[in-house]
């Protein structure tokens, strides 16, 4: 049985595990012993991996070769930007952009910890510089700029850096007339940036409207999870809105809705398939077919 995940905890910069896992019998004292490279972050750790959906056990190498999709039940494991770039771009070749734009604690926001400290801690445990990374490359010889979120970085939260990096990506697409894709994977807004984080919705939407005027395609790929400000802005504004199978996508999180309506949520609620049925997705694409489908779509737009 899949554990219900609390991705709001990730927004607080905490690991989104249930109490049960937190108080397990064995503790990993040293993190990432077998996953020292940047590519392996946000992927199942250790030699063996157990599918959270069906319990199938396979080696991480096998899982990696299968694009982190369970060989038995096709459950899509959560992966990071590096994995997506490797999957999508030709020959693993791409240029990472705007890495020099970094978050700062402008508001001196302190909850249980200061935002400054949270940032320092996050930077210390990952090679990722913020919750979105931008890369430029080709997909079967079609140019594409991708902004891909990393859930590992404070729950993929939407802050000023995400807004600025995506805005610059869009500007680049305007100048070079290259299509833009955003791969969404985020619990929502970065509350430690308060209203600044909210205004990023407007900021990115403004840039997208310029892409519209210039006739440049914009594709939004929604992956698990895509919530809050993401779905209330660029996540839902694609010329194509597409999603990976089984991804949780919505405006309000399941916990909040449950508390509001005081009822259990129906099976499959807010999953990709649910959104497709309700008319909010153009199609669902399994990870293994992603590159092929993207290339087809991009060349259809072009020719």
């Amino acid at each position: 049985m899949k554990q219900e995940e609390d991705f709001e905890a990730n927004l607080a910069g905490e690991e989104g595990q249930s109490e049960e896992t937190k108080t397990s019998w064995f503790k990993r004292i040293k993190k990432g012993i077998l996953t020292s490279t940047a590519e392996k972050k946000e992927t199942p750790e250790g030699l063996w991996s157990k599918c959270p959906e069906c319990g199938y056990i396979c080696t991480v190498t096998e899982l990696r070769e299968n694009m982190f999709v369970c060989p038995k039940c096709a459950y899509h494991h959560r992966i990071g930007s590096s994995e997506y770039f490797d999957i999508i771009f030709d020959d693993d070749q791409y240029e990472i952009l705007y890495e020099n734009i970094r978050s700062k604690d402008f508001l001196h926001f302190t909850d249980l910890k200061s935002y400054e400290k949270r940032l320092q801690e996050t930077w210390a445990k990952t090679d990722i510089t913020d919750s979105v990374r931008v890369a430029k490359g080709t997909v079967k010889s079609n140019d594409l700029v991708i902004a891909c979120m990393d859930f590992e970085f404070i729950g993929g939260s939407l802050g000023s850096v995400m807004g600025e990096r995506i805005a610059r990506a869009a500007t680049l697409c305007l100048e070079k007339r290259i299509p833009l894709m955003i791969i969404c994977k985020s619990g929502g807004a970065r509350m430690m940036e308060s209203a600044f984080s909210l205004m990023q919705l407007a900021k990115v939407s403004g840039k997208l409207s310029q892409l519209t005027d210039a006739g440049i395609p914009y594709i939004s790929l929604l992956t698990d999870p895509s919530f809050g400000g993401i779905s209330a802005s660029f996540g839902m504004l694609g010329d194509l809105n597409i999603a990976e199978p089984g991804a949780l996508i919505g405006f309000a999180g399941p916990r909040v809705i449950k508390e509001t309506i005081k009822k259990d949520l129906p099976e499959g609620f807010q999953r990709s398939e649910f959104l497709l049925e309700h008319g909010f997705l153009d199609f669902i694409v399994p990870r293994k077919e992603l590159k092929e489908k993207l290339a087809t779509v991009l060349s259809l737009f072009k020719n």
Binding site: E8, L11, A12, E99, N100, I101, R102, K104, F106, L107, F109, T110, D111, L112, S160, V161, G163, E164, A167, A189, M191, E193, S194, A195, F196, S197, L198, M199, Q200, L201, A202, K203, S205, G206, K207, L208, S209, Q210, G228, G229, I230, S231, A232, S233, F234, G235, M236, L237, G250, F251, A252, V256, I257, T260, I261, K263, L265, P266, F269, H278
Partner: protein, 325 residues
């Protein structure tokens, strides 16, 4: 506006209530004994004004939040009534239904036609339920967009009045695409050819507020707040408890002063002494010149210039470091 004896008081407004009680006592005494007590009554009334002023001078962020939710506070339809004439309310999103939490229509503001739209809260328990506490569903946002497009067709400026604790987090709201509805509004408001002025008149919570909050100018009334999440929800997520709302309100820096200082809003609009709930007409009168002046200003620009400036205005928002690599 409620009569003085029907007024409701927040905890920090209690000193005013005591004065009101004293005045009432004196009035009854004067009535009974036929003694002229108008002098002491007038003095007490002056003290009411002084106390209103004193109380709102040093409000904590949380008290501002409370004031923005004052049960006697004027809501969108009240402002429309006090600001404009010939208001014709228009209903429905032409798709699902009419959302009572979002109202709007054409009206005349000092002789010029405007489209005025806003979230609407209820003034009593029954009305609050009808208005869904000012929390719109997707059809509310789509109704707002329909009205904005109508305004664009007839080249009339759009004024939005923001007052919401958030977009409704319901099951059907998700089925009908709450996220998409808000996203579409943000995107389309960015491209509207007519002038757009947005005013936070009460609560400005998150995407629910921004869904009618993208404009050439964004104002906040003095006793309002605007940020990415309500202090209560922020407390529950970041502090893992519902009890830190005061702290969350402080940390979020959600008051008009901060928002103005950060360059996220353009002007702070003064309210009547002690808050808009003391005098609805005065509250509207204080807002009106800002609207008229801004409409004149924006009218000087071409649609293309306005859209370009609007995109640029929001594009500048954000804080980050650019480190050397």
């Amino acid at each position: 506006m409620p009569q003085d004896k029907n007024r409701q008081f927040l905890e920090f407004e209690k000193p005013i209530k005591e004065l009101f009680d004293d005045i009432e006592g004196l009035k009854q005494k004067a009535e009974k004994s036929k003694i002229d007590l108008s002098d002491p009554i007038r003095k007490l009334e002056e003290r009411v004004i002084e106390t209103r002023k004193a109380i709102t001078q040093n409000l904590t962020p949380w008290q501002k939040v409370q004031l923005s939710r004052h049960p006697d506070r004027p809501y969108t339809l009240k402002y429309i009534d006090k600001l404009t004439t010939d208001f014709v309310e228009l209903f429905g999103d032409r798709n699902v239904r009419d959302d009572k939490a979002m109202v709007g229509g054409f009206a005349s503001l000092d002789g010029r036609t405007v489209m005025i739209i806003g979230q609407q809260k209820g003034i009593n328990t029954k009305a609050r339920q009808l208005r869904n506490f000012g929390m719109a569903n997707p059809e509310g946002y789509r109704k707002a967009l329909r009205l904005m497009k109508l305004a664009e067709k007839f080249n009339k400026p759009v004024i939005t009045l923001i007052d919401t604790p958030g977009a409704y987090p319901g099951l059907e709201a998700e089925e009908r695409g709450q996220g998409e509805a808000i996203a579409r509004n943000i995107y389309e408001m960015m491209r509207l050819k007519v002038p757009v002025i947005c005013v936070v008149i009460g609560e400005g919570a998150s995407g629910g507020a921004l869904g009618i909050g993208v404009g050439d100018r964004v104002f906040m009334l003095e006793n309002t707040w605007y940020t990415v999440i309500s202090p209560e929800s922020c407390s529950s997520i970041l502090w893992r408890s519902w009890d830190q709302k005061e702290k969350a309100a402080e940390q979020l820096k959600l008051t008009p002063d901060y928002m103005h200082q950060f360059g996220l809003i353009d002007e702070i609009i003064p309210e009547p002494v002690g808050g808009a709930h003391w005098d609805y007409q005065e509250a509207a009168n204080l807002l009106k010149p800002y609207l008229l002046n801004t409409l004149n200003e924006l009218g000087q620009l071409t649609p293309e210039q306005r859209i370009e400036k609007r995109i640029e205005k929001f594009n500048k928002m954000g804080f980050y470091d650019e480190v050397a690599q």
